[in-house]
Amino acid sequence: MPDKPRVVREARPYINPYLGGALLGVVLFAAFFITGSGLGASAAINRLMSALLELFAPEHVDRVGYLAAMGGGTSISLAHSTVAMFAGTLLGGFVSGLVGRRVKPELRKGPQIGAGTRIAAAIIGGILMGYGARLARGCTSGQALSGGAVLSVGSFAFMFSIFIAAYALAYFLRRLWN
């Protein structure tokens, strides 16, 4: 008998989006119920960067007001609940990816662009996201999702702004994705 052919383990399909949304809603509720605030991601990334900067230029962190509030003097940028949540999010994504057989180094991109373009676009998009998220005091998770669930007016205005800008530009950037 010949050797068994090596089976390429196909990624499992994603769950139904409404089920996913309902589960996410329960997680969000749990966050509010237990801690009094919602979920978030961007603040932790800011703290990670501040911590990184502290390794190389601690005086700089002490001088820039926005960074000093996180890691100035003897305070530690990483000693914060958002950083713990960030670590959890990373780990949660990994575990769910393992179960769904989706953990593998790969680049997701539109068919018409090369890997370099995709990486550059991801970095530029990330910079804009990071900057906007700090200006808006929260990202899609911290402002839109968490604020939306507690009916914050500003969060809804914020959410619609994201969608408006993305839809307005989608046509012009269609080469990136289609």
Binding site: G93, G126, L151, F156
Partner: protein, 448 residues
């Protein structure tokens, strides 16, 4: 009662474990919904795959219905739930910038973390980009200060914007979300799978979809009917949370202790005077704000009180204690912290810090505990007498009639030396300290 006060375990392992666990669940749900795939996310903006909208809005309305249900049945105190404060223009401009970032980069910060967790190279690049972006912001934040704090509206709910009860707003939000889902399904069929939209396709058929939508709408309708708890129902929970017992007279603070706090420059003391305008004009403690009964339930006013810095101590005062206690309950139920009552009210205050006889004399036969001024004022002094600011060095501005009684004060001592303190104002008052300052103020934001 929820939410739990985690400040007591802050910076311990269990504290971080709670957030780690929440993050774990958050990341897992995002990943299994497909949020780790930038192409799936970007497809949202070409109306081919509406997963982002479906997941986000299902999550928002599910959490929203659960939060307001829990609040309606009294297991969650919504006053202590952090509502991201509204800074309208920074939010809109930040949102527009993020929208551009979304369509270029294909992620938002949370989803890129999940993508990085499953080793998607574009996700890792995006997280790096977000890092650079937040750092750029940190460096330029000082240039944007006035804009960042502009159009501030505080804790501002949609229900307040529309002038509707919270429950009704939740019901409307659920209805709007269901309509959006319906539109999303049609869009996917048309643009995602290229099907024509036939009449048959317009009728939802999936039993689970219908059951889920029904459950959400039903619960939201129930929440709207039950309504949110009133202040009278909520204050015992708030008191319980803060560990304050009215029976033990915990919130009643002796005037002498209050005077001490007023003299403490590390604390900002706020006096809320709930008496009539007439009594207020006759006499009030220096810096007191007169609060009318309608203001006690005015969300705008309550918000302005909540925005005070964390080192603010608030005292409620009436002539006696009855009205002040009622107001205290209302304010406590609406989420105010470091909130106390002036023991014995203005009448006790005036007994401890007696005004000059030429300004006011005690009314014979009137008990100090009564809700009527137990002093007869010869003139409306407002806050212009020693009793209104006993913590200030009163010797600097003795009243004329006080000088009549103490002629030795008329002579300013040489070299601006401090004047001797007359005996009757020097007497020591003993009291039981009651104030326990809690520096953690009202809950702030999730992402901050």
């Amino acid at each position: 009662m929820a939410p739990f006060d985690l400040s007591s375990i802050a910076d311990t392992a269990p504290y971080y474990l709670i957030f780690l666990a929440l993050g774990l669940a958050f990341g897992a749900v995002l990943e299994m919904s497909g949020f780790g795939d930038s192409r799936k996310l970007a497809a949202q903006f070409y109306l081919k795959d509406m997963t982002v909208l479906k997941v986000m809005f299902t999550a928002i309305v599910t959490a929203c219905v659960l939060i307001f249900s829990a609040s309606a049945i009294g297991i969650l105190d919504f006053s202590f739930v952090a509502v991201p404060p509204t800074y309208l223009m920074p939010g809109i401009i930040g949102g527009l910038i993020m929208g551009v970032g979304f369509i270029i980069g294909g992620f938002c910060p949370g989803t890129s973390v999940v993508a990085a967790g499953t080793l998607k190279l574009d996700g890792i690049a995006f997280v790096g980009g977000v890092g650079i972006g937040t750092l750029l912001f940190s460096e330029t934040a000082s240039l944007l200060t006035s804009f960042r704090y502009s159009t501030f509206m505080g804790r501002f709910l949609l229900s307040e914007l529309f002038g509707l009860p919270e429950g009704v707003t939740v019901l409307l939000l659920v209805g709007m979300a269901l309509l959006m889902f319906y539109g999303a399904e049609l869009a996917e069929r048309r643009f995602g799978r290229g099907e024509a939209i036939t009449r048959a396709a317009l009728i939802p058929r999936n039993r689970f979809t219908i059951a889920g939508a029904g459950a959400l709408l039903g619960t939201a309708a129930l929440v709207a009917v039950i309504g949110q708890p009133s202040a009278e129902e909520k204050w015992p929970m708030a008191a319980n949370r803060a560990g304050i017992s009215l029976e033990n007279r915990d919130p009643y603070v002796h005037p002498a202790e209050i005077a001490q706090w007023r003299a403490d420059s590390s604390v900002s003391v706020r006096m809320l005077d709930v008496r009539s305008e007439g009594d207020f004009n006759r006499f009030h403690i220096l810096g007191a704000i007169r609060v009318s009964p309608s203001e006690l339930t005015d969300s705008q006013f309550i918000r302005s009180l909540q925005e005070a810095p964390a080192n603010t101590l608030t005292f409620v005062v009436s002539n006696g204690e009855t009205r002040a206690t009622a107001a205290w309950k209302q304010l406590l139920a609406q989420g105010l912290t470091n909130l106390y009552i002036v023991e014995g009210g203005i009448n006790n205050w005036l007994t401890v810090f007696p005004p000059d006889a030429c300004i006011a004399v005690p009314v014979k036969g009137r008990q100090p505990g009564e809700e009527e001024l137990a002093f007869a004022f010869t003139q409306a002094v407002g806050d212009d007498c020693y009793s209104a600011h006993p913590e200030v060095d009163f010797k600097e501005s003795p009243t004329d009639c006080y000088l009549e009684a103490h002629p030795e004060l008329k002579q300013r001592p040489a070299n601006n030396a401090v004047r001797p303190v007359p005996f009757d104002r020097q007497r020591k008052v003993t009291f039981q300290p009651k104030v326990k300052m809690k520096k953690a103020g009202a809950p702030k934001g999730g992402c901050g």
